[in-house]
């Protein structure tokens, strides 16, 4: 199966790979996995007091499409408010990367990772 140029670009030059300090109260972590392919994705967001995403890092073990989806998402969420980030849909990710139908679940995983990170942020800040 041929990957689109955008997927290859993100796969070969992934943006924002790495970790943020998970003990930092401003850092939210979203962990998701896909049983179908065994992919594991970690997305971390550094969120300012006024709810703006200042930084994003990811670590993904999976196929090229999963890596590209998470890499793209870190670019997209930076500078957005958490409410705006929560609006990002997997269809937009899949469209941007021209993912074939069998790889749509990779974009779903990336969307779910954003949601999981935001939920982690809300849990952390309500305590």
């Amino acid at each position: 199966m041929a990957y689109s140029e955008k997927v290859i670009d993100h796969y070969e030059n992934p943006r924002n790979v790495g970790s943020l300090d998970k003990n930092d109260p401003q850092v939210a972590t979203g962990m998701v996995g896909a049983p179908a392919c065994g992919d594991v994705m970690k997305l971390q967001l550094k969120i300012s007091d006024d709810g703006i995403i200042e930084d994003a890092k990811f670590k993904t073990y999976g196929c090229g499409s999963a890596i590209a989806s998470s890499s793209l998402v870190t670019e997209w969420v930076k500078g957005k408010s958490i409410d705006e980030a929560a609006e990002i849909k997997n269809t937009a990710i899949a469209e941007e990367l021209a993912l074939p139908p069998v790889k749509i679940h990779c974009s779903i995983l990336a969307e779910d990772a954003i949601k999981a990170a935001i939920e982690d942020y809300r849990t952390k800040n309500n305590d």
């Binding site: 962990m31 998701v32 996995g33 896909a34 049983p35 179908a36 392919c37 065994g38 992919d39 594991v40 970690k42 670590k59 073990y61 749509i104 679940h105 779903i108 995983l109 779910d112 999981a116």
Partner: protein
């Protein structure tokens, strides 16, 4: 007729694989499309369908994870879609660690030993979940079936780790 009935087996998780294989061969011989070479096209079609069904049943019953999943389906347990994300954080953290362990193998001084160590870790954790699954399936309550469902999904991550380890081993052998 479900797959267990098709093979004349009791609907339970523990299966004698040698026996399963014998039954499979007998059934396949009976339904083999060649035996229907002179039959009507209708009968030939039925024979092909039967043969496919026997094959599907065999592949499902042979694999412990597919068998578990099939048993849960028969019990009417609502399995989340294959594509649905899994969100058990501590489990996924552990998966990340195991993936890192896998990624570090190629930098080890003794890669053979590192591969062996990783395979022991994967197997031990797989076995632990697998034994739980066995108990949960036998218990067959709403709660235990839900847990079994969860464990099937977890075990798939270990299957993937094993595939990755095998790939790595092949790649290192080629060097």
């Amino acid at each position: 007729m479900n797959y267990f009935q098709l093979f004349g087996l009791v609907n339970q998780f523990d299966i004698d694989l040698a026996n399963l294989s014998t039954i499979y061969q007998t059934l396949q011989k009976q339904a083999h499309p060649d035996r229907f070479a002179h039959a009507s096209s209708q009968e030939q079609l039925i024979a092909v369908q039967k043969s496919t069904e026997i094959n599907d049943a065999y592949q499902t019953l042979k694999s412990p994870l597919l068998r578990a999943q099939y048993m849960l389906e028969l019990r009417g347990v609502d399995m989340p879609s294959e594509q649905a994300s899994f969100g058990d954080v501590s489990f996924l953290m552990r998966q990340m660690e195991l993936r890192e362990l896998l990624a570090e193998i190629k930098f080890a001084n003794d890669t053979d030993a590192a591969i062996f160590e990783a395979s022991v870790v994967f197997e031990t954790e797989f076995e632990q979940l697998f034994n739980q699954l066995q108990v949960q399936l036998t218990e067959n309550t709403t709660e235990s079936n839900a847990q079994a469902c969860d464990n099937v999904r977890k075990l798939k991550f270990y299957q993937k780790l094993q595939v990755e380890l095998d790939k790595l081993e092949d790649a290192l052998l080629d060097d």
